[in-house]
């Protein structure tokens, strides 16, 4: 139940942007699947702002909100052996877990 007004970090990405999922180590908790880490995808949708999971999981309610995005990946980029060219996968990630891909 988010309060009406929350400080939110500015969104760094918009639909169509190419982004890479950060490759951070695992420790204690994550909502960023291993299979997307280090992989480049495209922002499909800007969804909502909220705490990042790493903050919410320890109830750090005063932490800033940030933008979440639905990211679209090509299955061939996720799994080296994937045989079907067109297939895709989407999942949702917060701003902190993404870095820009230039060119």
């Amino acid at each position: 139940m988010p309060p009406a007004e929350r400080k939110s970090l500015p969104a760094r990405f918009e639909p169509g942007d190419r982004v890479r999922v950060k490759e951070l180590p695992n420790l204690y908790y994550s909502r960023t699947q291993m299979y997307v880490r280090g992989v480049i995808g495209t922002v499909a949708v800007c969804t909502y702002t909220d705490l990042k999971p790493e903050d919410e999981a320890w109830s750090r309610d005063d932490a800033p909100y940030e933008q979440y995005y639905i990211i679209r990946f090509r299955q061939k980029d996720l799994w080296a052996e994937y045989p079907f060219d067109k297939d895709t996968l989407q999942t949702e990630l917060p701003d902190s877990w993404l870095e820009p891909v230039t060119a």
Binding site: M1, P25, N26, Y29, S30, M34, E56, A57, W58, S59
Partner: protein, 141 residues
């Protein structure tokens, strides 16, 4: 109180929970970087792991499962915990053995009990006494 033979049976079951690697795992002096990563990967992050074909059967819900779902949700409704805390405790903090060894809602209620103790809403002794009391009440019919 478990009898001595009951206790031996419990020990035998417990011994079988060791992960199925083919190495002794009683506190190794060091482990490989891959083993370190594997141990720290949250047990719920299973997407992409290999598994064989499955029978995707339906399951009828037990009353205690519905009650568990509702209890956990109402604790969320009342702000006692948030969903990410629930996911952390019930999917990660319990470790791989319980993650795979417990029923789905068994993890949920384990997490709720753990949270109530961690957040000091109840003491562990209160919880233990209550479990024993409920058990005795049901044994008495």
């Amino acid at each position: 109180m478990p009898s001595r033979s009951d206790l031996k049976r419990l020990y035998d079951v417990g011994a079988q929970l060791a992960p199925m690697t083919h190495q002794q795992q009683d506190w190794p002096y060091e482990i490989s970087p891959d083993a370190y990563k594997a141990y720290l990967q949250p047990p719920h992050d299973v997407g992409g792991q290999a598994s064989g074909p499955s029978v995707f059967e339906e399951k009828e819900e037990e009353l205690w499962e519905l009650n568990t779902y509702v209890t956990c949700e109402v604790l969320g409704w009342k702000g006692v915990w948030n969903s990410e805390e629930r996911r952390r405790i019930g999917n990660n903090d319990l470790g791989a053995s319980l993650y795979y060894g417990f029923p789905y809602y068994g993890r949920w209620i384990w997490a709720a009990a753990r949270m109530l103790v961690d957040k000091k809403h109840i003491s562990l002794m209160e919880l233990l006494e209550k479990i024993a009391e409920v058990k005795a009440r049901h044994a008495a019919g």
